[in-house]
Structures are given as C-alpha cells and as structure tokens.
Amino acid sequence: MKTKLLTLALGTAALAFSATANAATLDDVKAKDFLQCGVSTGFPGFAFTDDNGDWQGFDPAFCRAVAAAVLGDASKVKFTPTTGKTRFTALASGEIDMLARNTTETFSRDVDLKFTFAPVNYYDGQGFMVRKDLGVDSALGLSSATICIQTGTTTELNLADYFRANNMSYEPVPVETNAEAQEKYLANACDAYTTDASGLSATRSAFENPDDHIVLPEIISKEPLGPLVRQGDDQWADIVKWTILALITAEEVGVTAGNADQMKADSTDPNIQRLLGATEDNYGAMFGLDNDWALRAIKAGGNYGEIFARYLGTETPLGIERGVNALWTDGGLMYAAPIR
C-alpha cells in the first residue's frame, strides 16, 4: 500500500517534470525570456571573455543576433561554455537552445547524433602551422614529426587519415585546449600544430613574432562550421537558419547596423524592404516572430561582414582574410538563399 502510494507519487512527479518537456524551443525561449547558447570555453576570435567578463567573439555574435531576432534584445543571451566532449550532450539534453561553437558539420553528427545544422557561417579546413626555420614547405615533409592536436574534434580523425593515406608516420601530442596547444607549440614541444586554418591564423596572430611561423599550403579537410540545433524542431531550426542568412543577405545588399533603420525607411529596393520588414509580407509571422526580426538581428552586431571584420578580419590581431568566406559576388562561398 505504502509502496504503491510512493510509486504513485514518483509517477506524478515524473509527469510534472515532463509537462514542461517537448514544448517548441521558440515558445520555451520566449517563456524564459533568454536564449541559452553553447559556446567554446575559449578560442581566439571565436569565443573569449573580455575584461568585464562578457563573452565576445564570432560565435557569441551569432547567438546575440538570434536573441535579438527572437526576443528583441541582443543582451538576452546566456552563454554556456562547453568542451568538445560536453557540447553535443548539452544540446541534445535541452540544456542549451543552440550551439555555436565552431562545430564542423558532418554526416554522423547530422544523422546519427540527430542535430540540424544551420547554414555554414565559416568555411574552414584543417591545416598545419610550422616554424619557418624548420625548412618544411609542404605537409608531405612532416613525416615522423611531432604534431600537436586538439582532442575531441574531427581534426584527430582527419590527421590519422591524411598520414595513413600518404604512408607517413607521426607522433600525435593530444591537448585539451587551444591555449595549451599554443603553449606546447611555442615551446617547440611539437614541430607542427594542426587545427582549422582559422584557428591557426588566430593562434599565429597572438605570437610575439608571427612571421617566424608559416601555415602550410595543404588543407587536408573540409570543415564547414556553423551553429546547430536539435533535430525535430523545424520552426526553431528555421529561425536560426534564416537569421544567419539574413545577416549574409544584409551584407550583400549593403545593410549595416548603422544604416538599417534608415534603410528600412528610405530604401526602395524590394530585396532590402523584404529583409527589413518594410513590406506587408509578414515573413516573420510565418515562423512565430514579428516583421522586424531581421532588422533587430542586423542591428545587434551588424551584418555578416561587420561581424567577421570585428572579430576575425584583417583589422583584428587575427588578421584573417575573407577568402572563401567572402560573398559569392566577390568570389567566395557565402551565398544566401533569397528571402521571398
């Protein structure tokens, strides 16, 4: 009898818990009035804390854009630092609403781990950085070298594949974080450091003498990086997807954080009007937002180009060229589907 009562109590308790579950992420986010966004625990340019303890960087900027689109306020984001190991569980369990942690889109992550990737916001590829005085000018010259590598990422698998394919041997030195890798590489405890090319530039930029180091020309993998969300909530996936596309479109049509309001009022270009919600199309309402969603996202941190320039571009210590991440009109791969 007593046990029955207790089972009953536990059962009802379980029900009470699950009542909050399975609601659409958008309603969830609106109800709690902030966006929980997973970022890295620290990666130059992509995620770091400033002296005030605020998260800054390329990835947080996209979180802020989504928060602005959904909640109308770019500051309504809470960041959860995740490691290579914890990031997917954090997203799958609903602890975070979206993951923006320079994560490579792969088949198994999409299909097997059940995530939906938003459009790629950074095209990357795995490369190698070595000291100039090592006299190596190709990755093929790295046979029997000691190579520092961040564990818990796809880079490990790429590296194993590449050396196996070229019949070379190497000595992997696994490290947990970029900061450790850099420390080891600078101390010459490894001959080469391999990670995404963006990460290499970022790391190199922080060196005292960046010119003593070169990034080898070989890019041994494709690393399309982008935010991701849980599979099965298409509305939420759409919101994240189109927020990114809106930022890219904004760059394409020349809307910036500074001129967005004015453009909305003055522009006669239908592309811009649709983007900024100046028409009566009500695109926002189609996924549960209002008409100004894209306007707010752009005003939060600028268009794609502005975000890139602020955290990664040639004006920053990282000094990364746009390269393949330029707009398609400039010969890059950034090609946003039209908003119509």
Binding site: L6, T7, T146, A187, N188
Partner: protein
Amino acid sequence: MTTATQIVDGPVDSGGFRLSQLIYDSRYRSYTIQVIAMVLFMVAVGWLVDNVIDNFRDLGKEFSFGFLFQPASYDINQTLIDYNSQSPHWRAAVVGILNTLLIAVLGCILATFLGVAIGVARLSKNWLIAKLMTIYIEGFRNVPVLLWILLFSTAFSALLPSPRQTEPMLAGFLTATNRGFYVPATIWSEGAGLLAILFLVSLVAAWIFGRWATARQEATGEILPIFRIRLAIIFLPVLALFFLLGSPMTLDFPELKGFNYQGGLYIRSSFMALWLALSLYTAAFIAENVRAGIQAISKGQTEAAYSLGLPPKRTMNLVILPQALRIIIPPLISQYLNLTKNSSLAIAVGYMDVTGTLGGITLNQTGKEMECLILLMGFYLTISLLISGVMNLYNNAVSLKER
C-alpha cells in the same frame, strides 16, 4: 536489541499471526523495513532505467556495444601493444587500460620510495632537513593534484630545450627534450637466454642461502651479513658470464634524425609530467603516514630493544618497522588506490590512459556516452575492488591476535 526487547513485549507465540505484527512486533519489523527498502530501491532503479529507455527512444539512440568493433580511426602516441588507426575501438580501450596500469604501477613504486624517504627525513634530527620536508609535504598536500599535473606539464614543455637544441647528457645515457626523455634501449643478442637462466638460478640460490643462514643463526647465534652475500650471489655469476660471453648486449642510443630523436627508449613528457606529479603528490601523503606510523610505536619499544642489546639498525629493522608497518600499510594501500584513481587526470595533459581513449576520444567520436562510461567505471571499480581485496587480506593477516 531485537533479542532484548523480544522478551519484554513480544507476544506469546501461541496466538496467530496478525498483520499489525509487521509494524509492532520487533521480530517482524526488521523484515518490513527491509522489504520496504528493497521495494523503494527497485522502484528507483526501475524509474531511472525507464527514463533512460524513454530518452534513448526519443533521441533515436540504441544501447549497444557494437561500436567497440568498428575502426577507431584515431592514433595514439604511446601504445604498449600493436595499434594503428584502423584498429577497433576495443583495442584502443585496451591500449588505454595498459597505459593506466603502467602509470599506476610506476607511480605507486616511486611514490612509496619518495614517501618513505621523506617521512623518515621529516623525523630527522637535522632541523633544516626536517623543515624542508615539512614544507614539501604541506606544499604538495594542500594544492590540488590537477594543478600539479598541469604545472609539471608546462614546466617540461617550457623549460627544457627542443630536440634540435638538445645535446645528449651523461655520455648519451639521457637526452632530455621538451617532448620527452630518451634513454638507450637494450638490444640482446645470442647468449642472452643463458644469462637469464643463470640469473634465475642465482635468485633461487640466494633464497636458499637466506634460509640456511637463518637456520644457522637460530642454531648457533652467529649473524652473517646476509644482504651483502645475497647481492654477491645474485650478481657476480651473471656479471662473470656476461663478460665470458663477450657482452651479448648492445645499447641502442637515440640519435637526432629529422624532427626528433630516433631509437632508444622514448619516455614522453606527458607521461613524465603525470608520473612525477602523481608520485610527488601521493608521496606527501605517504610520508605523513610513515611518520605517523613510526611515531605511534612507543619509545618503550626502542628502549626495550636497546636494553636487550640490539644495535640501533637492528632495532629499527626487527622491532620498530614490523610494528610500524602494521599501521602504515593500510593507509598506504588506500593511497595507491587514490593514485590509481587520480591517474584519470591524465586527460588534462594528453596522456592517453583509459579515460583518454575509451572515456575521451572514443566517447566523443561515437557519441556512445552511456556505454563508454559504463565500461570505464566498471574498469576502475574492478581495480579498486581488487586493491581493497588485497588490503583486507593483509589486514586479516597482520591484525593483532588479541587474547
């Protein structure tokens, strides 16, 4: 208590069993409580398992260990058995397990030596030594071991020279680079088997000599320098044969080739950092145990031994240490257990132990958290239970037979 109250308020057995006895009769109450506890436990476990099944269904995951047989497709630097990136995940796990055992065993050995030495030195009459050892013990004990591991790792990579700037030291017997340490490897040629056989024979001979010497001492009272004679029995014949055969052993010295030193025995700095940090940290605790053990033996024991005419060294060996060990060994073994568990922090310096392979890369690449962690915890649990089993055996063997 059950028996005590039974006489007072237990009902006379003649009456039939009533349901209320389950609560009020102390004979049956213990069953009621246990049944309730068991049922509660089962309900809780059932609830957890049910949740796991639900969650797995929702996420479309399945619970299976099949991934263990798929290729791991990552490389491991330190492998004690054959392994390459095409080997299956289970083999990667075994490589990790062996690396864990390696660091645990070597760590325990070094920590014991250091700990005993430091514990004894802490009681030294020399004020300076005693104080230095106190500083060592307090310094290591009161800072988290993770910090020590990181510190050693940083120290090795930042303070030692890179391979190209390194010159072999000690006539080539040690090459210290910031990637690791190289020592010559031994290569045995023909005749090595003979040496090994002779060595085994000498060991047996030394053992027989020991028994004979003890018997002789008991019979005549004469004491032989057993230790020195034993050493001679073990090593002299082997050395003689070694030179007779014309040194059937060559040393393979490491040489700088390309990026790194090649040849010789390569001890990676991740291993060294973990090994030293764990050993030094654990040694501080062992030193305290040793000190406490020695101090716990009352001074009367020493005085009694002296008055019997035993010299100080024999007093220590025959009177003090055997008693102190009884106190020292149980906490010593639990320190071994701690060291083994702490070796899982290898993940912080990139030493590929079982937490790094099975609980690290395999878990990340396959997304099989449940399966990997069950296996990982099972492994550590087995090791722990084995070690505590040994400890219980020892405790039973040495516990004072009180009369």
